[in-house]
Symmetry: C2
Subunit: 343 residues, 2 copies
């Protein structure tokens, strides 16, 4: 069975290629009968238009690209779901592009733009240490969603980019503030060892300690090695086990993701201690599991659905050349649950 092209469909129907094209693309100027006949033939011979050829010719492709840092992270789940739905509601297509830990998201976005003639791009995760000059080369609008600190200034007539995210540093600071207010003086901190997100969290942690007049102790900081799959329960479990074994004194563990916090809880439980009686545990990001774990886990609930929603809306505003807010910082909500208590 060979590749069937528009030409052959035309021949099969005894019409010209343009007529077939018109039938496919719902152009108005076409005889309904011819159209029906063509559509039937297409069905019968299972003709599928070649999108590469289409994109080569067309200026608009009605597709939105989502570039995701480590797609295997469960954190993106709902967000992807929302994005998918919203984009589909607007009659656009979605293409997903994973970017591995050692890949450059901007480079991939540049490719995508050329290749798929995407109308816009949403960056999910990463985007801390990007090359701004490369980023400027993107001619399509884009939104940095759920991470990153800023977005280049506009140079053209219309705004081309926007940021929709939480402020990691402030959020982490508020969590540590809360833990301090509970009476904790030595808070172990599980964070990512990278210079992007991990650094922001750490800054927030340090700031809070300072504000609360507590001493910073490097021994309480656990830096997860950058590399694949940092935010796993297993990681949280293992490093907490080590911490417990190390004999370092602490009364509370704060992890920068709920999955890590789950691991931390289990490690405490397995060591024969209790949460929160012996050690308190707090997480961040607000995944479902924090709510349903036993004990339920105190966390910072990031407004993920809201972020996803605003990202799509903002992207379409950019596409439609409307005014947009360049930096939307959405606040998280600190949710006290069973895993923490006042000392």
């Amino acid at each position: 069975m060979e590749q069937i092209t528009i030409k052959e469909v035309a021949k099969l129907c005894g019409v010209g290629v343009s007529t077939v094209s018109r039938a496919i693309n719902n152009h108005p100027d076409i005889n309904p009968e011819t159209k029906q006949k063509i559509l039937d033939t297409i069905r019968e011979y299972n003709y599928v238009p070649n999108n590469s050829a289409r994109n080569l010719k067309r200026t608009d492709s009605n597709t939105i690209a989502v570039v995701i840092k480590e797609i295997s992270n469960s954190y993106w789940g709902v967000m992807l779901h929302v994005l998918e739905r919203e984009v589909r509601d607007r009659k656009y297509c979605l293409v997903l592009q994973n970017v591995a830990d050692d890949e450059d998201e901007v480079e991939l976005a540049l490719q995508l733009e050329k290749e798929k003639k995407v109308k816009g791009i949403i960056f999910l995760g990463g985007m801390y240490n990007y090359d701004e000059s490369r980023l400027r080369m993107l001619r399509v609008p884009y939104v940095i969603s759920g991470s990153g600190k800023t977005v280049p200034e506009d140079t053209g007539t219309y705004p081309k980019s926007a940021l929709v995210t939480t402020d990691t540093e402030i959020e982490s600071q508020s969590m540590v503030d809360y833990l301090c207010s509970c009476g904790h003086k030595r808070i172990a901190f599980i964070t990512s060892g990278d210079e992007g997100l991990g650094r922001c969290h750490l800054n927030g942690y340090k700031r809070s300690l300072e504000k609360n007049g507590l001493e910073y102790d490097e021994k309480l900081i656990i830096r997860l090695k950058p590399g694949k799959r940092i935010y796993t329960i297993e990681n949280g479990y293992n490093c907490t086990c080590e911490l417990l074994k190390s004999g370092v004194d602490f009364s509370c563990i704060y992890a920068i993701s709920d999955t890590l916090a789950v691991g931390a809880c289990r490690a405490v439980i397995d060591s024969g201690k209790r949460v929160p009686e012996d050690y308190c545990v707090a997480g961040a990001d607000g995944q479902d599991i924090a709510e349903y774990y036993h004990p339920s886990i105190t966390t910072l609930k990031y407004p993920r659905v809201e972020i996803a929603l605003q990202s799509v809306r903002t992207l379409f505003d950019l596409i439609n050349r409307k005014k947009v807010v360049k930096r939307q910082i959405l606040g998280g909500t600190l949710i006290e649950r069973e895993s923490t208590r006042k000392l």
Copy 2:
């Protein structure tokens, strides 16, 4: 800043387009100096080849497509991660295509084949009620991974497809067998209401009851409405709450995913009862959370990494026209944990 094409690069360097093409594609017959000069110019002017045009011309694109039923399901996490790595190790690219609950995966695959000239396709999830005649139209090799019951017979010279999965029905049956062996006589069952996976699970459940001489009671069956995001903790929680309120008599809950089981556990706990003392809970699929939940959850651990690995290997074997096993059924492992006990 305008789109720069290969033509302009050629002009800029004072060479022909074919020479530029050779430089880009690492062809051997080219003067290293010219090549360097071209590469420099490309860098300077930020030329990015248009992949649509490439794909139009090229016969091979060295990309593998993964078609995923509901990508937002956390179950796929590790598998995606493995696939990504394996494909990259073989110097191929990966494109991800989500397929929503109401979309047809085969249709999307057909598109992908034409558009991206993919060398092969891996179907993740779904693929129970596909249109076999459409599936046969795929000319590239494909592997149905982690789900589905069978794969069409080969018609051509070389095998074109393969199946790598667990046997859902048998797995579910073995879990219910186990629960029966613990002394449970009334096992509530949380499953998906669809005709694919949900049906297979239900068959296994029924078979086991029969084998163990137990009566099937429709009141114990909770069918989650097909639609978006079935496998959420929240779903498991809500339907268990209802079940508990309904007053139906049972001693054990078996849910077809670990996330559902987590929700079930929490519902039991919130109702003031204990797991496993008052109600036993078992899950299936073997996600991390089942191991780290408190209590840890008895589950069927599907060999997800193994399935992903075998899927890639098999796909590349198909691509390279090697012999392959058409149906690889990998067995799951029943892991007894804290959430169940002998009555």
